[in-house]
Amino acid sequence: MRTIFKLAVCSAILLSSCAEKINSEGPSLEDFTGEFSLVTPLATSTSDVDFSVGEKLILTAEFSKSTEWTLEITGLSSGAYKVISGKSKTLDEDNAIWNGSITDFPMFAEEQVTIDLYVEEADTNFYQSVTVDVSGVKVNDGFLVADFEEGFNSGWAVFAQTGADMTFRIEDVAPAAQGAHYYDMGGEVDWDWLIGYVYFPSSAYQVSTYPLNPNPDNVYFNVLLYKPEGITNALALFQFVEDDNLDGVFTEASEDMYSVEVSALEVGWNQISLKYADINALVNGQPSQPKGNGVNEPNKLLEIRILMLANPASGYSQLYMDYMIFTDNEPLNP
């Protein structure tokens, strides 16, 4: 029995003695303490970056200690804005890489950008700035419905009531969310909720239905809407018309139409991103039973309808629209 006992104890000791012998774990405390100073100034991997071909901009710098830092990237023409922040001793490809995306709208254009590095230490406020040329903007994967940069597609349909100050048109003045153009939907109609609409049929793209993934969980609808200062009554209704029987025609009584109402917008550009599977059929704003097969089928999407609405008693209303795009698997990451 003593042999068994000894064998068991020896086995347990052998099991437990596999620890790696090291003196310390984690990064050195020396990297987190002491006076702050800049060891290597802020630099960029290139002075001219083309995001449209997949290039990325790597920012580098080194400090005397690990510190909290912020990089603010601002487009000098567009006003686009991106923030990257972190806490480390160095800036490198692991923590300070820019793929042309934004934090706040608008999106970057082909322009010069400034990159400002801020460090706030207990007794130090450090600042350094560099500039870079963007020769190609980030390309977002997906099916682009409209960015209004090439004018009004002849396949689209527009209707505006004969109200006051009607502005259903493409604008080329600020503030575009992407590129230089956006669509302005505004006006005052005191006898009807409908101010106007724009229809985007699939035929405008020379396809029978939108070329989307059939799985509604993998398809996201994205659009950028701008609410001007002082507008409180704007309501946008998005309708997704499906051709369930694929006969090329939408039959309202027997085919699905899914809808989304968008009203609670912040002043400025808002990104609306919806998973196609989450879009319901609506009647008077309330969820209802679809009239077709009741299945959200993005690959049978025949037409997208955007209706600009407002309470007729509420006066003038207006929204801008830009960059409508379907993306796969995740919302638009502009």
Partner: protein, 571 residues
Amino acid sequence: MMYRKITFIVLMVLSITPSIAQEGRKVWLSGSSRGIIYADKFETGGDVRDTTTARKTQSGYALVDLGIHVQPVKNVEIQGMLRIRNDLGGFWGSGVTLDLRQLSVKGVIADIIRFQLGDIDYKLSPYTFQNSEEWVLQNTGPLTTVPLDFIRYDVFQNDDLTWRQQGLATDFGFQFKKIIKEANFSLFVNRVQAGFDNGGNDRMIGGGMMEIIPMENLRARFHYVNLFDIAETSSNPVALNNPVQTLAVLYDKQFGAWSGHAEFEGGRSKMEWLGDDEAPVLEDGFFDAQVSAKHASSGIKMSVSWREVGSNFRSPGAQSKRIRFNSSVQAYQRYGNEQALRQISTYDLVRDASLYNTQIQAGLMAFDPRYGNATPYGRATPNRRGVTTGIEWREKADKVGLNIGFDRLSDIVGQGTDEKRNFTLLSVGGDIRIDKYLNLKQKLNLTATWQSENTERDGSEFDAVDLSNSIIQAGLEWEFIPKLSLLGELRQWTSDGTDLLATRDDFSQITDYNTFVTKTNETFWGSGLQYTFSEKIKAQVFYQQFSWEDEISGQLPYKWENWQINLYMAF
């Protein structure tokens, strides 16, 4: 609608019970019930009057846990328990909730293999699968124990340190005539997390124990526990795999009037993320040797142990904490005119069930150094080496008891430095039954405890840390009229000093350090009356007052008064 559904279920259960019971004891009921009413008064301290936080609130609930046991055949029992709860103000069914609290099937196959399926309570060793007690809650008094016991019952944190999980457990054994006397086996598997798309995979924990008994007083146990993901149950290509295996030897021997016990456990763990080439692989080991002795006639028990737990030892079943310190308190969550988030306090820990963890967690959970810095993950806390000793004495007639504990631990490896932290824990506690000394008919019991924990590390001004936590607690229970008792409790918790708190990434590796500075003082006192209908049925009225301040954090001090009425019963 809900109200009618509940009424229907209760009536149905009550109507079938007598008829079936007549045929033999095949269906029976068990359960418990309680009703609690709180009247709170909260006062924010500081120079500026708090005009935002509600000063007084009333809350409470009544609940019934109704357990139904069905024994369809001799060796099988089905147990289901429904919880019906009605929050204060939920009249006419509007605040009623009906939950299935537990459901399990247990039995014996062929009089050999015991099994349990569904909600099961399971435990192995302190280094493999055990729901270890939090240091901060090791000693509670007559008043704070009452709500804490309610919480522990609600979240299934049992005194026997088992984990309540959903799964399957089975155990069986063999007896032999030669070489060894017995071989026992215990196996289990539980689901920890359901897989979901774009998230994690299905996560399971499973393993068991093989016990060999070569002679009456010697046992050898091999434990194996693995927390693992089942690949391809979600779109996540990364699967966790965290096996732990240990070998334990237990030996008992009688030395005259002394009963001796020696126990040794050693083992190792491996934590890896399959499918992620950049993830680390954490491997480490531990050993723990302890000796204890008990003198039956004098009532003295002594123990001493030495343990060493590697810094990369990861055993989720043993290291998962009871308290989720990164969660927010429910009562008075924000206070002051700035509506600052209120920190967790010792009073919240005995009142707020939402702070408690009920699931095995991978890696190392967050902890608060004020409430246990030396052993935040129990005995299996990684990166610790040192001695633990204890002496207990209980007078034969149970008139008086005394216990002293002392731990001296240190880091095995420094955190960010070669300097190691040293941890000193000391606790002294006792109780005295004055009624037995004075020959009183009714109980008069006094308890007192002092616990202290010190963390220190020498070095430069950047390395050095020094943090002290301590608690003094005194309690009174006096049955001044038969069945009617006066309860009293005083607790003072202080935490003072500095430590560097490690920030860990998803792989539980240190990535950063945050300076933790505190000078916290928490004082609790209260008294109340308790009427004991029977051991299982009690009614209580308590008045309690709690004050909190931290001179360094910038958080406003506050005082919290509370009237509490409890009625609970088990049946």
